[in-house]
Symmetry: C2
Subunit: 705 residues, 2 copies
Amino acid sequence: MVDTAPRTHNSARKASDAQGARSGTSGSGRAGTLTPKVDVAALETQLLGDWADVRRAARELAGRPDMQKVEGLSLADQRARTFGQLSLLVENGQVHRAFPKDVGGEEDNGGNIAGFEELVAADPSLQIKSGVQWGLFGSAIVQLGTERHHQKYLPDIMSLKTPGAFAMTEIGHGSDVASAATTATYDPETQEFVINTPFKGAWKEFLGNAGNDGIAAVVFAQLISKGVNHGVHAFYVPIRDADGAFLPGVGGEDDGLKGGLNGIDNGRLHFTNVRIPRTDLLNKYGDVAEDGTYTSPISSPGRRFFTMLGTLVQGRVSLDGSAVVASKIALTIAIRYAAERRQFASGDGGGEEQVILDYQRHQRRLLPLLATTYAASFAHEVFLHKFDDVFSGATDTDADRQDLETIAAALKPLSTWHALTTLQEAREACGGAGFMTANRLTSLRADLDVYVTFEGDNNVLLQLVSKRLLTDFSKQFAHADAGVLARYAVTQAADRAYHAGLRSLGQTVRDFGSTARSVGWLQEASTQRELLTDRVEAMVAEVATALRPASKLSKKDAADLFNSQQNQLIEAARAHGELLQWEAFSDALEQTPDADTRQVLTWLRDLFGLGLIEKHAAWYLMNGRLSPQRAQAVTAYIDRLLRRIRPHAVDLVNAFGYGPEHIRAEIATGVEAERQSEAREYYRRLRESGEAPIDEKTLTKKKRP
Amino acid sequence: MVDTAPRTHNSARKASDAQGARSGTSGSGRAGTLTPKVDVAALETQLLGDWADVRRAARELAGRPDMQKVEGLSLADQRARTFGQLSLLVENGQVHRAFPKDVGGEEDNGGNIAGFEELVAADPSLQIKSGVQWGLFGSAIVQLGTERHHQKYLPDIMSLKTPGAFAMTEIGHGSDVASAATTATYDPETQEFVINTPFKGAWKEFLGNAGNDGIAAVVFAQLISKGVNHGVHAFYVPIRDADGAFLPGVGGEDDGLKGGLNGIDNGRLHFTNVRIPRTDLLNKYGDVAEDGTYTSPISSPGRRFFTMLGTLVQGRVSLDGSAVVASKIALTIAIRYAAERRQFASGDGGGEEQVILDYQRHQRRLLPLLATTYAASFAHEVFLHKFDDVFSGATDTDADRQDLETIAAALKPLSTWHALTTLQEAREACGGAGFMTANRLTSLRADLDVYVTFEGDNNVLLQLVSKRLLTDFSKQFAHADAGVLARYAVTQAADRAYHAGLRSLGQTVRDFGSTARSVGWLQEASTQRELLTDRVEAMVAEVATALRPASKLSKKDAADLFNSQQNQLIEAARAHGELLQWEAFSDALEQTPDADTRQVLTWLRDLFGLGLIEKHAAWYLMNGRLSPQRAQAVTAYIDRLLRRIRPHAVDLVNAFGYGPEHIRAEIATGVEAERQSEAREYYRRLRESGEAPIDEKTLTKKKRP
């Protein structure tokens, strides 16, 4: 095992052992005591998942100093550095995996994403800028273009000879792409499309590579031919000449400084009757003949639009995975530090100061985030497989694509918000040290911030999930009346291991159980699954019931009614995403061969599941799913789980497998423990010298009779 | 009224009217309809509070471009700019207010803090750097020193001739100041103190002005004389010579880049047997005679220590106020934008797009934060008065000081966390635009981040509050047995309007009410007060009961028992702080003369109070304080309140009184509405021209039979 383990693992393991020795709370399982021992190497391998080799290679690259973020650079220098790193990626053969084989690619979609995700450990700007170039700009040509575009444009995109922007978002319509106002009007006389920005709200905005580097763009515009608007399509449009000046008719501005990701030159673009050849319409899902006749393999304009957008789901896949990577780095820093840092003597003075991870509050702050990170990590692996299956064509039906989009819309919001929460809690848990740039957390947080609103605003994505849930619900109950709907019971098709949509329990959960058996009941996976599943189901049923009258209302009143349920719908979608995470975590337990490790991971899964139930306890209580006694038992059992998991916390972050070259935080290097041993040694010598001053408090006490 | 209103009000009012006209949802109250109309000018005056003139003057200063943050500067340039701004503060007579009259000050403690808080609108670095210079370094000499120090040091500190550091925190002991390891050993032969840093963990760390500018420091060290350690005292220690080089025996390092506040040169200091005159001990609370005899007006070393620290509470006062200012700016940006920005047509297409503040979810995201900001603002005004009363000597008993410290420890955590939550939600609510530095939010958030862990880590402060609550509890029930404790009932002394400590209800709240009357019941202030008060009381009682056996346990077991209650204790302290905010908000309603405005503020107060009850609904349900029906009514009523408050949202942020020179966010200037009217005009002309393309969807529908 040791022979095949990667270098990062070995260093992590060594740190873990040192840790255990220092804190005296870990590693006691070896002698056969009751405390299980996590097999860190095996767990690391499990977490690396099926694209382990790609991830290891990408981590090695991310560990190179020349690939890493340098803090405090000027805007221009930071951008130049990131652009230079893109060339290094090309040189190192990191960017070809997803491209078609006939242009030198590997058509390995899953591996491609897995590799890119790991780049967040080097610099999120590098990850996102390469995502813009190859994941959006290049991928749009792969997915929306056809053979002629592949041959003509992909080689220079892959080599970075053509840096490009993905010009979809307009300032007037962020997440509402269908309402884009840029037009591409076909002129049959010249056989050209005329790309035009009709007003300022239609400027393309926030585009990576548009501020400076991009010489071309994939522009999304309303395709108009013969006086008919066929909806949003994508066009290949050159924007800058060899000297970096805008081509005639093209204009733009630099977005300048942002809250993070300043290695990327975001900017705005606008077009004044810019003419491009007819053949530069990316015509896979819609084409215009020389005479202007429009044809499409998908007759419904709505379905065509969503199919085109659906091909771009990989951005969400990679953000989900990158958010998990960032969370892992944050927790590695905060938990290693918390396992060393001592503050305040336990009892009223005298005793040695306590390691802060031994404080209940500190455990409450960090360990549930650790559990959620594991859940998100396992869920991402399932998601990545689903993506790979669809994009490789292995399982690529309409239903598969819809499932993939639902999973993306459910998981990306949860993991990106979780990353921000985790980075912030980790920063606060490290106190003032957490605020120092040298300790990484604030920088990562600033860069990750925008992940929650780009590639689909999180709140908008969750509404997509809720629409799917409502659709599934209405399919199941097309003819049921409202009374039945509120408490329906249908068995779910059991043949889909990771079903993306709404699922049903055989029965509504009702808590009639005794308090005495509460903990045993809560520990059961089936209990957690039922409680989590039932909540999604019941929330959706409740909204669906409330929405029933909508069909009889005016458009305005129906919209108001829908709006009155919006918050509940989004919460239902969030609950659904949490359930997907929980299921992925539970499935992963079955793939953990080592019994000790499985035991610790089961506690962690329970902490995740019961943490969700505690968070939503009010709902469970109001809806009779938990008795007040059982709800209190949830919290009590969580407290017990925290104490159980605490000795394994350092092992659990070491299993993430990131070495010091990825963590790059001074406080995670053992410096705190060194300072403490120096201090202890000082006081020991002082005591032995007989010259230690007497504490006035002691003196005062002695003086008293 | 208009004549006396400040300029910022006028501009805000104009924006409000324009807003109302544009959105068509506000301002209808004038014609005597049922919708009340907020008197923005009067509300602005009420919010400005009793130090209105100081705040207006400080805002005028904060509105000057030369006082404001410039984004994207190098570390060196940003520091130089902030230091230069400190000189501008001196030139403008902004820094003398809190200093003694005999050195040219005004001894106006409340006004001083009120003025400094407003500087956060210019640049948080400026606020905190001036806080370091005059609020910590200078104030320590005022509060801990005596006449000789005042005369000798204060003039040059006030004029900035002596920039200085406040050297309290050590890297080994952040919030645990009593454990500081730096020593100041008295040498009677030379009548000097020898300041020494015994090991690396004792380096003074994160000190503003220490990285570069400081030429002196107030150093906190264990005072040792005649072989006795008298605990932590403060000493005046020169650290740099005229050329900026460290003096002999002094060393240090620059902390470099931070997550924010980079206008401040934080750094580390250490001392190797640095000798200072005996008379440079700041000797108000403890002195050493020439022969080394130690004397103090406070005999208990513990009480002496807390008294000394207590004089430095003003840092917490000003952070609380600054956090409120930042929250107000954030909400002004996000709510003005949300009242203009339109996304997605209501119904299924066709209609005009909906203003995003009309979406339930958007209201749920922003309006509760608005309510909390009002609560925090009113609570801060009470807090500032309490501080001024104590520091002016108007009401300066031990009990007053303890109350002040409890209020500080309760409110500063809540308001600083709230500011981060608000800045982040505001940034996300503005989408990609919120991430642009030009829209201010990310920059403010980065600068405010450290507010939650400095001047007392928020989690540590809340533990101070909980200790006070436990002490109050044990005083009330010194002889009660555990059974009684759990459900005790005592009437509270009614003569203290804003009691800082634990209060008691006449009886435990029990919900036996009918569902039908729920809303009326929830609207009553007495209901909200009882529910909020009862929760704090019951949580403290529960913990106290659990801790009863501690006195009979070993020190280790007692510490473990205490630790098992830590999370609950912190939550009780948070609930106590929320109650203080709620009470301040409720008291403020009585000072709102205009009936319409009072109506809207009452809704806002109810949103705040019921929001707290909804957040803690699980507790109320588990403990029988709310029936499931009533708990559901809380959420339903909150939804109703959101709809009621929404038309007044823009007025409510305009009443904060910040002009464009303070807000400095492009998206809050009306640019979005301009873009929309340009777009509308374009489409209108297109329709009229008869050249508008036909939508393929319409065409498809028409083709169908």
